[in-house]
C-alpha cells in the first residue's frame, strides 16, 4: 500500500489536511481581521483548501516515477550510427 515515495507523500498530505481542517489548528484563523476586504476566517479556509488541491495536483501530475520514465526514454545522441567518412587529408 505504501510502496514508493508517491504513496507516502499522499498519505502525509492526507494527514496534514486532516490536521489543518480540524481542532485546534482551524481555530487559529478565527480572528477579527480581513484580507482584501474578506474576513480572515472564510478566506483562510478557502486558501488552505486551494493550497491542498494545488499540492495534490502537483503530486499527481508530476510524479517521481513518471519523471524517471521520461529520462529513460530520452534518445541517446551517441547511438546515431554515422557511416565511416572518407580518409582525412592529413596523416
Amino acid at each position: 500500500m505504501l510502496k514508493g515515495l508517491g504513496s507516502q507523500r499522499l498519505v502525509a498530505l492526507f494527514a496534514g489536511g486532516w490536521v489543518l481542517f480540524n481542532f485546534p489548528l482551524l481555530g487559529l484563523w478565527d480572528r477579527d481581521a480581513t484580507v482584501w476586504g474578506i474576513p480572515l476566517f472564510p478566506a483562510a479556509l478557502f486558501l488552505l483548501w486551494g493550497g491542498l488541491i494545488a499540492v495534490l495536483a502537483w503530486l499527481m501530475e508530476w510524479p517521481e516515477d513518471r519523471l524517471a520514465d521520461r529520462s529513460e526514454e530520452r534518445p541517446d545522441d551517441r547511438a546515431g550510427g554515422v557511416p565511416p567518412p572518407p580518409a582525412p587529408p592529413q596523416e
Binding site: F14, F23, I38, P39, W49, I53, L56, A57, P89, Q90
Partner: protein, 912 residues
Amino acid sequence: MLSPALVIASSFAYLLLLFAVAYWADRRAQAGRSVIANPWTYALSLAVYCTAWTYFGSVGRAASGGVWFLPIYLGPTLVMVLGWIVLRKMIRIAKAYRITSIADFIASRYGKSPLLAGLVTLIAVVGIVPYIALQLKAVSAGYALLTVPGGVAEAAHWSRDSAFYVALVLAGFAMVFGARHLDTTERHEGMVAAIAFESVVKLVAFLMVGFFVVYGLFDGLGDLFARAQAVPQLQQLLRLEQGGQFAWAQWFGLMLLSMFSVVFLPRQFQVMVVENVREDHLRRAVWVFPLYMLLINLFVLPIALGGLLYFGPGQGNAENFVLSLPLAAGQHALALFAFVGGLSAATGMVIVETVAVSTMVSNELVLPLLLRWRHLRSSGGQDFTRLLLGIRRAAILGVLVLGYVYFHLAGEAYALVSIGLISFAAVAQFAPVVLGGMYWKGGTRLGALAGLLAGFLMWAYTLMLPSIAKSGWLDMGFIAHGPWGLAWLRPEQLLGLQGFDGLTHSLFWSMLANVVAYVGVSLWRAPSGREASQALLFVDVFERTAGSSPVFWRGRANTQDLLRLCERFLGAAKAQALFDGYAQRMGVRHALALRPDARLVQFVETQLAGAVGSASARALVASVAEEETLSPEDVLRILDEASQIRAYSRALEGKSRSLEQATAELRAANEQLQSLDRLKDDFMSSVTHELRTPLTSIRALAELMQDDAGMPQAQRQQFVGIIVAETERLTRLVNQVLDMAKIESGHAEWHVAPVDMRALVQRAVATTAEVFRERAAQVQVQLPDEAPVLQADPDRILQVLLNLLSNAAKFVPSPGGRVQVRLVPDAQGVTVCVQDNGPGVQPGHEAMIFDRFHQTDLGVQVAHGTGLGLPISRHIAEHFGGRLWLEPSAQPGACFCFWLPRQAPSSGDKNP
C-alpha cells in the same frame, strides 16, 4: 414571476438536451470514439456528488451557520488525496471481478453471499430515499418560487402536486438513461456523458448567480462583507465560534461522514468505480474534482449573506436565495437559468442514484428470489434479459415513489442539508466492511452481516426514527423520554450519552456498533474456503491481476450447459460471441469443443456477474455444475500452485532475459570481430600496395639495366641511385609495420633515460631542417628558458617529433609554408605542439586520422607516407603515460600536440 408554461417548457427542453447528449455519446461509443474516455469527463462525472443539496441547501446552511456548509466538501477532498491509493484498488478489484454495484462489491468479497447482497441493497434503498426526497423537495420548491405568487406552494393533493410529477418525469428519464439495454459490464456511456454535461451546467449557473449577487446587487466582495460585518447577526456567521463553543465533534463527524459518502453512496460508487474507463484517469480526477467543489462553493457564503442583507435577516427562505435574489432584482432570465442549474443538479443525482440502486435491486434482491423457483433456474430456454430490464425499470420507479412518500412524510419539516445527512449516515455503514474487506483478510461473511445489521439498526433507531417522529408521525414523547419511559433508551441520548448533536450521536453509536460487531464476529470463527479465497482475491488484487490468477473452483461442468446459461441471461448472440472469443483465446476452433475446466467456469461466472451480480451468478453456475465445496486447506493449496506457476513463469522470464542479454553480447562481439577482420584485410591491401609501388620501379629499372648491357655509366649510376632510394623506402615501411606490430603486441623495446625536451626539440628541428628548406617553409621554434627533464625513451620521443614535423612538411603549401613548434611545460609534465598552415583536417575526420586502418586512401594521396606515423606516435605517447591529440584550433591548418608526464607511470618500465 414566470409563467408555469415557460418554466415547464424550459425544463423539458433541458432534459431533452441531456438526453441528446447521452444519445450522441452512446453513438460515439458504438463507433469506437468514446467521449467519456478522458480524465476530464471522468472528473466532471464525479461532480454528481454536488446535488440540489449543494445548489440550494448549502446557501441555506451558510445563512444559518456560516462555514458549516464546508466540511461536507473538505472530507471528499481529503478522500481524493488518498484516491490514488484506495480508489485505484477499488477500481482494480471491480474491473477484475466485474463488480457492478456496492452491494455486489461487499457480497463478492465475503464469499459471494446473496444474503449479504440483499442486506446491503436494503440499506442502500432505505438510506437513499431521504436523499431522493431532498431533490424532489428542492425542485418543487424552486418551481413554486418561480411560478406561484408569494413563492410558497400550498399543500396540494398529490394529483396537483408538482413534486409528484417531477418524480414521474425523473423516473422516466432514469429508465431511458440507465435501463434501455443490458450490458455485462453495467456501464452507461451516454449517462456518464450527460452527467458530465450537467456538472458543467450547474457550475456555470451557480457561478453566474454568484457573480450577479456580488457585482450586480453589491459593489464587489469587499462591499458585501463590509456591510455584513456591520450587522451583528451576520458578523457571527463569518466566525468560527458563533456565540457559543464551536462543536468540534460535529465538524469532525461531518468530515468523516462525507468522506465515506463520497465513495459509498451508490451513485458515487457507480460513476467512480463502475463507470471508470481507465484507472489512469483517476490521476487527474483526484484533483480536478476537489477543484470543482471549491469553485461551486466559492459564492455560497456571499449569496447567503447577500440574501440576508437584501431581504433582511429572517425574511425569505435562505435555501431559495439562488432563485429569489435574481427574481427579486428582476433578472428573470437569470432566475430561469438558475432554476435549470438546480434542476440539473437534482436530475443528475436522481438518474445515477436510481440506476445504481435499480441494478442492485434487480441483481441482489429480486433475481435471487426468482432463482429460488426451480423452473426459472434450470429448465426452460426463455430469455431473461427482458425480465431483468423490466425489474430494473420497476425498481427505478419504486425508488422515486418512495422518495416522494418520504418527502411528504418527513421532508417538509426539515432543511435540505439535514435530510441529506440522514442518507450520508446510512451509507457510511458500508465503510467498515468495504475498507476492512479491502485491507484485512480476516473479515468473514457473518462478521459483515453482523456489522452492517448492527450499524443499520443503530442508524434507524437514533436518526431515522427521530426524523419521522419530529415530522409528527410518531409520538414525540418517544424521543423525549424514551420508549416505555425508559430514559436510557432515548434515541438521541442513548445510554445517557450527551453533548453531541443528533447526527454525531447517531454516527458515533452506529459506527461503534458496526465496527465492534464486524470485527468481533469475524474473529469468532476462521473464514471458510470461499471466504478465504475471495479475501485473497480482494486484498492482494494488485498481485493477483498481474500474472496468472488462481481459480478457486473444483467440480464438473458441461460446456453446453454453461453456454445455454449464458444465452438465457445475456442473450443468444452475445453469449455465442463471448464463447467464440474465449475459444479463440484458448486456441480451440469451436466453442463447444472447449474443455469445461475451472477456468471456463470462472469465465462464465464472471460474465454472468456483470449482468446479474456475483451472488446470483454464483448460484446460477452452481445450478448447472456439480461442485465440490472448497475447504480453507484447498484454497491454500490452489493458491500455492498458482504462486508456484507464477514463480516458474517469473524464473522463465528471468532466464529468457539473461539469454537475450547473452545473445546481444555475443552478437556485438561477433560484429566487432568482423569489423576488425575487415580492417585487417584493408590494412593488408594497403601495405601490399605500398610495397608494390617501390618494387615495381626497382624491377623496371633492374630489367632495363639487364636488357641494355651497353647502357651509359652515368645513366646506370642514376638508376642504381633510384633503386637504393626505393629499397630504403621499402625498408622504412617494413620497419614501421614491424614497429607497430611490436608496440601493439607489447614486445617493443624501451630504453628509459632522462630526456631534456628542449634539446630534443632542437635536435628534431635540426634533423628536418633540410626537408623544410627544400619546400621553402619557415620553421619557428618557441622554447621556454628551462624545460623539465622527463623519464622516457629519447629515441622514441624523437620519433614522435620527427613524425609530426615531417607530416607538417608534407602538408604546408610549397612556397610560403609556416610551421610553429611550441614547448610548454606545466606542473605535471610538458606539452609539445606542432602547428602548420596547411589545409588542415577535414571536419569529422579528427578521430579517424589516428586509426591506422583508415589510411588506405592516404597512401595514394601522399606518396611518401606509410599511413602508420600517427598511430605509432600516439602509442608511444600513451606508453609513457601521456597522450597525443589534434588541437581543435580555430586557425587554418592543423595543430598536433602531445603531452608527456615528468615521471612515466610504472608500466613504462615494464619492458626495459
